[in-house]
């Protein structure tokens, strides 16, 4: 079973960050002499997947900016045409909805730090 809901929410972000940290953890392990080629293979695969997800989600979020502009443009021009395309073109290539991203990061930080703080209290 997958506890929680896979994908949606802060769980996805948590595991992406976990995967992105893996090379650094493994590097430290390598320096201590506790690593192996098979461990690096796992690290490489998971962190590559995490980067691919980051890139794809960034494009997806960009799309959520473009789609409303296209719809609005189409509405003004009375159909899907040049106006719609022009409206889409006005959206910067890296226009990300900053606020929702920050809120998600903040939620994750609150949950992870909150659990850690609870541990300190519950000694």
């Amino acid at each position: 079973m997958s506890a929680g809901l896979p994908g949606i929410g802060i769980g996805g972000l948590f595991f992406i960050l976990s995967a992105l940290c893996m090379p650094f953890v493994e590097l430290a392990r390598t320096i201590r002499g506790g690593s192996s080629r098979s461990r690096w293979r796992i690290v490489g695969r998971q962190s590559a997947m995490a980067w691919a997800i980051v890139f794809a989600v960034e494009r997806m979020l960009w799309l959520t900016k473009v789609v409303p502009s296209v719809v609005e443009g189409a509405g003004q021009a009375g159909g899907m045409g040049r106006a719609a395309v022009a409206a889409a073109a006005q959206v910067p290539a890296h226009a990300l909805p900053v606020m929702p991203i920050l809120v998600t990061f903040a939620c994750l930080a609150v949950v992870v730090v909150g659990a850690f703080a609870l541990r300190l209290i519950d000694r």
Binding site: M1, S2, I10, Q46, M49, V71, A115, D122
Partner: protein, 362 residues
Amino acid sequence: MGETSTTTAVGSVPTERSAPRRAAATVTVIVPAYNEASSIAATVRSLRSQTLPPARIVVVDDCSSDGTDEIAQREGAVVVKPPKNTGSKAGAQNFALPLVETPFTLTIDADTTLAPDALEKIMAAFSDDRVAAACGFVLPQRVRSAWERGRYLEYMFAFNFYKPIQDYYEKPLISSGCFSAYRTKVLRELGGWSTQTMAEDMDLTWTLYQRGWKVRFVPEAISYPLEPHDHNFVCKQLKRWSHGFVQNVRLHWRDILHLNYLRSVVAVAFWDALVASLAVLIVIPLLALTVSPLFLLGYLIDAPAILIPAVVGGIKRRELRRVLACYPGFLLLRMVNSWFMLKAMWSELLVGRSLSVYEKGH
């Protein structure tokens, strides 16, 4: 274990058809079964054809009425039967635990088959003396209905992305009950599988961590359970899983706080079970109705996060088209999952109505 030690095995103990190889004498398989006549033969056969055959296959026939015992016996398993239905998978497994004479015990659901080398692969995890349990990769045996498709994609995602990361940080969230191996000695020390929650596998996994043991995920060891194919079975399974998760958090939260990484995994899963469920069922539809239909895109926003690991797994298994075709089923399953998560939170934490009756989901 008190309840199991007073009962007696009444089933006959047939002789194994062929003598297992010497290396195999270390594992006993326990198969809890209740009315599994349609699937038990395939399960036992897949166990018998392992590259590392088990020393014994013990099917616990939990008072079935469909002839599960006869079929299992005919296939060459040792069949034991408690005097009355034990009421849960944990109860059935505990009934067989005293019969195990090998250093390792493997549990597998009666509707699950294994890849021919699964046992051999999973046992490799125990070369580390600190490992008390190991679990494998899970994929639905049958992918036909929308529910099975949803589950297929969920597993392709979770077992290709979440689980290897959890294993890297040495804290797989759960050693799945449908296919896991354990050190028998440790199982006995813990008193077998606890019947306190609806998710005995999660309970045991977290208890092992608390006692300082390691749990491993072995992706090369592949199992194929039959997943719920219709709405009725899906609901029973999700009800059990969601209540089981909440019950385990309630039971173990203090101890989990002191376990690095698992603490964060559980906290994040708990948050998502509550907040993401609310978003899926209430916030997104409300925004779509009151502000703009474009908010429905919120359901697809994480499509890449789900699909990329699943596609990677799909390419490896040459099942790419199946992965893509299963995405709508996944969205459906996630909606229903959200509903059950919220209901479980409400019942277990707010109303104080804890689920105590184990209903078989499949």
